[in-house]
């Protein structure tokens, strides 16, 4: 399979303190596949993903090559980069509640984004957005678009972001812990929507999570990060069944202990 994204020697550091946050990371994303990045908080998962879209705050600087479809993102002008953001590289954030401007109805962000990337008429954009929202089980899309973020639930907002991604049809979707802020039932639904999304638009995906259960369900390959370094990577099943690194073994075993405990309480597996 061809690589759609190749990250080579990515380094991210704080310009004030000089502290290195990401040290020499290299990894590839195959076209149409899903790469999960796992690791505990502060291991550099989010910073890595934001670095791919050059979205880190101005106090962080980055070097290395980020080759997307033959172009080095690190060398693009801001204008060229802006055209790629959303249209080619689409990000879905952890907390839907804070991802939309709290003073505007959610429709505003959707319309502004679509108007930025397509020459559609207002009506056409509206129709496409509505059908995408319906496909992620958001009934009454018109009503939802006229609601403020605080009037909707986290799961709904998460699905609105997914619906926007469906309309944008990006090459890569970067999902930054999209299930962490949700309750278990919404998590289940959102993960399903992510799986559908990949099947539907055939995009590649980078999925950050510390929920190994979700990762096992959705990812083809896994990258394990610790203290800003990639310590292990490979096929999902391989990581789960035969991790080489101590830290990965520890992550997998704690996860197993947790789910075994859960199964025992629920009376399964006897």
């Amino acid at each position: 399979m061809k690589n759609i994204l190749e990250v080579k020697n990515l380094m991210v550091w704080d310009i004030v303190s000089g502290k290195k946050i990401i040290q020499n990371s290299s990894f590839d994303l195959k076209a149409g596949s899903c790469l999960a990045i796992v690791g505990e908080s502060g291991s550099g998962k989010s910073v890595t993903c934001r670095a791919i879209m050059r979205l880190n705050s101005t106090s962080l600087q980055q070097s290395g090559d980020i080759i997307f479809k033959g172009e080095n993102i690190n060398q693009l002008s801001t204008k060229e980069l802006r055209k790629k953001r959303g249209k080619n590289l689409c990000m879905i954030l952890q907390n839907g509640m804070t991802a939309f401007d709290p003073s505007c109805v959610v429709g505003v962000h959707l319309r502004e984004t679509l108007a930025e990337h397509f020459d559609w008429s207002k009506n056409e954009a509206e129709v496409r957005m509505k059908s995408a929202m319906e496909s992620v089980m958001l009934i009454n899309p018109t009503e939802i678009m006229n609601k403020y973020p605080h009037q909707l639930s986290g799961g709904m907002l998460q699905r609105i972001m997914i619906a926007l991604a469906i309309v944008l049809e990006p090459d890569i979707i970067i999902a930054d812990e999209p299930t962490t802020a949700l309750d278990t039932i919404s998590q289940f639904e959102v993960v399903d929507q992510f799986i559908n999304l990949r099947e539907r638009i055939g995009c590649s995906m980078i999925f950050i999570s510390h929920d190994l259960g979700v990762v096992r369900k959705i990812a083809d390959e896994v990258l394990v990060m610790k203290d800003g370094k990639i310590i292990e990577s490979g096929n999902t099943e391989k990581i789960f069944s035969g991790a080489k690194h101590e830290y990965t073994k520890y992550l997998v075993s704690t996860r197993m202990a947790l789910s075994n405990n859960f199964k025992r309480i629920m009376g399964e597996g006897q």
Binding site: R82, G86, C90, L93, N95, F100, H109, H117, Y148
Partner: protein, 310 residues
Amino acid sequence: MGSYIVKRILVSVPLLLIISFLTFVLINLSPLDPAEVVLQAQGVPEITEELLEQTKEELGLDKPFILRYFDWFISSLQLDFGESYINGKPVWSLIGPAFLNTLKLTLISSIAIIFMSILLGVTCALKEGQVIDKSIRGFSFVLTAMPSYWLATIMIWYVSVKLDLLPTSGMVSYSSYILPVIVITISYAGIYFRNIRSSMLNNLNEDYVLYGRASGLPEKKITMHILRNSLQVSISIFGMAIPIILGSTVVIENVFAWPGLGSLSVKAILGRDFPIIQAYVLILAAAFVLFNTISDIINAFMNPKLRNDL
């Protein structure tokens, strides 16, 4: 939104009642006998008990306190604040034009303050830590630290006397506004723009900014979203600033000989002209309530979460 506006206006009615009552009580707590003040002002050589009783009756001061309050309150609603103890003219004929003059100065200054605060606040936030941010903050710090009467005097000396560009004082033409407005703007905008700057910087780190950028929105649009959210704090502050300026132009009005409320109220206080003081306090209090209500309504318009709070 409509019902919020109605509710918000209704809430301010009891507030005004309480304020008017307190105003009346406080002025009447004064140990001075108003009848005596009137007689002294009229230059009566010998004040006898009989004369005092007679004057009290004329002024209606012999009636019970509550009755006097209601009389005063009802006529105040019709802008009839009684007559000046000093020169016997109706209070409104004195305070009305003065209020209008001060209001003109205040509103023009407020527009200048809001404009400058937003301009400087946004510039500094977008250029955080850069030379322009640091120099604006440093320069404004020095200007804000200068007492306004001193700044006003320097400006009159340099601009009006030395360069002979603008009138030194009074309210003769549009050019009379320039210097007082500049002095008032400097002392307030220098404080308020910091507010806008810091709330914009807080908003810059919000997720919606990240998501906007990740969605490929241009910086201009993102800045508008940030501004809309940052201004909410500032609107309440601006709303309060207008009546504060209205009440504190005393210094500026005296330096520039502006025929406004400030000069009038100082004269009234020194002459113990109770009806004018009462009217002055009531008008200012009403202005506070009014602008507070307006800023709350604008805030509710900008921040949907507030609409259900009442």
